[in-house]
């Protein structure tokens, strides 16, 4: 099947998409956007988090066809040209990135949290990001990053 979808503000088209294919697969393999990561492929880790019509979803759990005529925003679409989004900046500055495999999903999830709750409390941050696993950082610096980004937005 053919899927028409707006990705990071651009109208895109993918052909010969298999019905069982995930949005994550389509983004990574067909649309040249490998930023979103596949770490479990079954909705357990959050590494594949993207916005679907402004709601963060696990792209591995969304069928590619469900994105038809909708809008997707991935980690690649957060920066404005060379200017990083404040959340991205804060992740680098706070040292919230180690191996970086969880980072694309976490950045999108944190971005969404700050859109909804401009000044989240620590428990709110921990809760909102609890579905995004990180095996490297120990989470401390990720919290720092979210606090830092909140103070700047």
């Amino acid at each position: 099947m053919r899927v028409n979808v707006t990705v990071n503000g651009e109208q895109r088209q993918a052909d010969d998409v298999w019905e069982g294919e995930s949005l994550l697969f389509m983004l990574r393999e067909r649309l040249g956007l490998p930023g979103s990561k596949n770490a479990c492929e079954q909705g357990e880790c959050g590494s594949c988090t993207v916005y679907l019509d402004n709601v963060p979803v696990c792209a591995c759990l969304v069928a590619a066809g469900q994105a038809q005529d909708r809008s997707v925003r991935t980690v690649e679409g957060l920066a404005e040209g060379d200017q990083l989004d404040p959340v991205q900046e804060a992740f680098v500055e706070a040292g919230a990135v180690q191996c970086g495999f969880c980072t694309p999903g976490l950045v999108v999830q944190a971005h969404d949290l700050l859109d909804r709750v401009p000044n989240p409390s620590d428990p709110e941050i921990r809760e909102a990001l609890a579905g995004n696993l990180c095996r490297c950082t120990g989470y401390e610096k990720i919290l720092d990053a979210v606090r830092l980004a909140a103070s700047r937005r």
Partner: protein
């Protein structure tokens, strides 16, 4: 610059999704390989039916032990699989690779793999631990003195379960051939480990194998070895004349890409009435997966931690029908310290001595099993500073003495130590006309911050900003540097970066004084802060190279392996924690943490702190959450990230970390020791001790789940 907090140089490409990981590699015409795995735990394959798979759309080939890709036997021990995949019909574990389907697309390959059927001659797999075994064998690891009986004796056994690394990135390999040259994009803790392995099993000159592993999504030991997808993707690509990409599913990673073995330690200690240890015996038992050779020397941590005139440790290995057990963050030490640090706490309680005090009374000023001096040890300072900052003196002596609403509150502490060593490494530094410097070596950055360490050290030595250094890692064509393992990357590679950055200054000076286009031709010059000067003239190296019309100058520096039989080398630390256990549900939660570390010179305070925090959190997982279960068919039943519980944001308190930052001049001029593994050692012990203090319940079997506290 050294020791200051520096932003990770690979940060920007990682927050924008631009950093290329192995599975992101795009090669035109790439095909996809999918592994078929065994559905029994022990026996022999008697036949496989691949006809339906071969007839399935897009399928290019189906390889099995009955139609194998030729792979030569493995020679080197790399803590991974003993046998290359598909070369024999014996089934050693559930989830062993028995087939490899290559198709035009990933979905086609996966679909076809589901159509392959296998028949087996089945035997009951051996999974009990300890217990009925195939061939348990005991070796005495080390004995010092003779075992004596002191006034006080203490004996207890401690057990730990199977655990998995769960690096977020699943194992992935992309292989492509150009004539007889192979290029491999793969996950790895060292490009040279892959090159060597492939050379032996493919029968190809290592010089013709180019391995690229620039960014790795976490390793923790699980990417030290090369698992089945690596040789299969390369061999299939050679056979088909097409690039092949193979990515393991999470379940396959659990089954075949290594795990932390199960262990049991029985500790017997004797001491005088005032708490001086007179003997420690630790009988360690470790599982070994029959897919591999590796097992844990779980009791050995006991040999180097506390002073005792008599020490004896043994190791009994129990082979099981499982995939290879392999190194996982602080192999031996993470489990070993749980037993000894719990036992020290129990002994302290038995003697009525404070746990910190008991450790100070048995402080090892010399290496306990060799009697040699340490290269540098400030563990006593870690204890004292930690106790003071944590408020240890306010700790009630009695267990179950503090409650906060429905939560019972307790505190605990433990010692951390991890071996340090410095291997040989070569690094190349090249100065470019655009004013940047590149620094290359085969080292790997698994998230550890090695890129940034290279940049900081080179910038420091060259006197230029970190932003003008371009580190280049994970490429097998670079000079041979340390693989990422055993916490010795910075300790080994760091001095080599310094040597190379010095050597390139000499090359630059030679160019400045001998190149006829140089304004310094024939003059006496000096180098400082990125520039060459003579008399009143100063010129940056970029301008000088441009003026001379030279594309760059470079030098390779080698830092030799440290051979020092006179000293013992370790990093040290002390953990202090508060744990709350719910009075009614038994739920344990870690609520406060402080680690004080003595790991030599800290190169990047920001990354180092994160490394310790990450290791502590992995230790919290080890203590409270993580266990892989095996059923009667020898299958890991919770082989996914929903059922194998790793800590999440909501599980973790603030983790405080202090570094003493005492340089260790014996290990190198840089004075850095390792920090990647130190942080996890002792964590489970500290938590078990705090749980005991909170509740009065001593749990000697990890993980400490609520059912054990009710």
């Amino acid at each position: 610059m050294i020791g200051r907090p520096v932003d990770r140089v690979d940060g920007r490409i990682k927050v924008t999704g631009a950093a290329p990981y192995a599975a992101d590699t795009k090669i035109p015409g790439v095909t996809c390989g999918y592994l078929v795995t065994s559905t029994i735990g022990r026996g022999r394959l008697t036949g496989m039916d691949t006809a339906a798979a071969l007839a399935s759309p897009g399928v290019l080939a189906v390889y099995t032990p009955f139609n194998p890709l030729k792979l030569f036997a493995y020679v080197q021990e790399q803590n991974d699989e003993r046998f290359p995949p598909l070369q024999d019909t014996e089934i050693r574990f559930f989830g062993q690779a028995i087939g490899f389907v290559v198709a035009e697309t990933w979905e086609q390959a996966r679909d076809a793999a589901g159509l392959v059927t296998a028949t087996y001659d089945q035997q009951p797999p051996v999974t009990e631990f300890p217990g009925r075994t195939l061939q348990a064998f005991e070796e005495v690891e080390e004995v010092v003195g003779t075992q004596t009986v002191g006034d006080i004796t203490f004996t207890a056994s401690y057990t730990t379960p199977f655990q998995h690394h769960c690096a977020m990135e699943p194992h992935a390999t992309v292989a492509t051939w150009n004539g007889d040259h192979l290029t491999v994009y793969t996950v790895s803790q060292g490009a040279l480990l892959v090159q060597r392995r492939l050379s032996e099993t493919l029968g190809v000159d290592a010089a013709k194998i180019h391995v690229l592993s620039p960014h790795v999504g976490g390793g923790f030991g699980g990417k030290w070895g090369n698992w089945a997808q690596v040789p299969l993707a390369c061999a299939a690509s050679r056979a088909l004349g097409r690039p092949v990409k193979a990515v393991l599913t999470r379940e396959q990673v659990f089954a075949m890409a290594g795990h932390r073995p199960r262990t049991k330690q029985t500790l017997a200690m004797t001491c005088t009435e005032d708490g001086k240890l007179t003997s420690i015996v630790n009988d360690g038992v470790t599982s070994r997966g029959l897919g591999g050779n590796w097992s844990e020397s779980v009791a050995n941590w006991t040999l180097t931690t506390y002073a005792s005139p008599n020490l004896r440790v043994t190791k009994t290995v129990v082979p099981l029908n499982l995939g290879a057990a392999t190194v996982m963050r602080a192999p031996g030490e993470a489990n070993g310290s749980f037993a000894l640090e719990s036992a020290m706490d129990e002994l302290a309680a038995q003697l009525g001595v404070d746990p910190v005090e008991l450790r100070l009374r048995n402080y090892a000023t010399l290496v306990p099993n060799t009697g040699k001096p340490w290269s540098g040890k400030h563990l006593d300072e870690c204890y004292r500073l930690g106790a003071e900052e944590f408020g240890w003196s306010k700790r009630p002596k009695q267990v179950r003495a503090t409650a906060d609403g429905d939560w019972l509150v307790g505190t605990g502490m433990a010692t951390a130590t991890y071996g340090a060593s410095r291997g040989q490494a070569s690094i190349k530094v090249r100065l470019h006309p655009d004013g940047t410097a590149s620094v290359s070596g085969t080292a790997a950055d698994l998230g550890t911050g090695q890129y940034t360490v290279f940049a900081i050290l080179a910038a420091d030595e060259l006197g230029i900003p970190v932003t003008r250094v371009r580190p280049d890692l994970g490429d097998s064509t670079s000079p041979a540097a340390a693989n990422a393992g055993g916490s010795n990357s910075t300790c080994t590679n760091g001095p080599a970066v310094q040597v190379a950055a010095k050597a390139v200054q000499t090359e630059l000076i030679t160019l400045a004084t001998t190149n006829p286009r140089s304004p310094f031709y024939g003059k006496e010059v000096s180098y400082r802060d990125g520039s060459v000067s003579s008399g009143g003239l100063t010129m940056s190296f970029g301008t000088l190279l441009t003026t001379c019309d030279v594309g760059g100058v470079e030098a390779v520096g080698t830092s030799p392996r440290l051979v020092d039989p006179e000293h013992g080398f370790r990093s040290f630390g002390a953990h202090f924690c508060e744990v709350r256990v719910h009075r009614l549900t038994g739920e344990p939660r870690v609520t406060r943490w402080l680690s004080v570390c003595d790991a030599g010179t800290i190169v990047n305070a920001k990354a180092a702190r994160s490394q310790i925090q990450g290791a502590v959190v992995m230790g919290i997982g080890q203590a409270l959450l993580e266990a892989t279960e095996v059923d009667v068919s020898a299958r890991f039943t919770n082989a996914n990230l929903a059922s194998y519980l790793v800590p999440v944001h909501a599980d973790i308190p603030r983790i405080d970390v202090r570094f003493l930052d005492h340089s260790d001049p014996v290990i190198s001029g840089l004075g850095a020791k390792g920090i990647g593994e130190l942080g996890i050692v002792g964590v489970a012990g500290a938590i078990a001790n705090a749980v005991h203090h909170a509740t009065g319940v001593r749990v000697r079997d990890l993980p400490i789940t609520l059912d054990k506290l009710l």
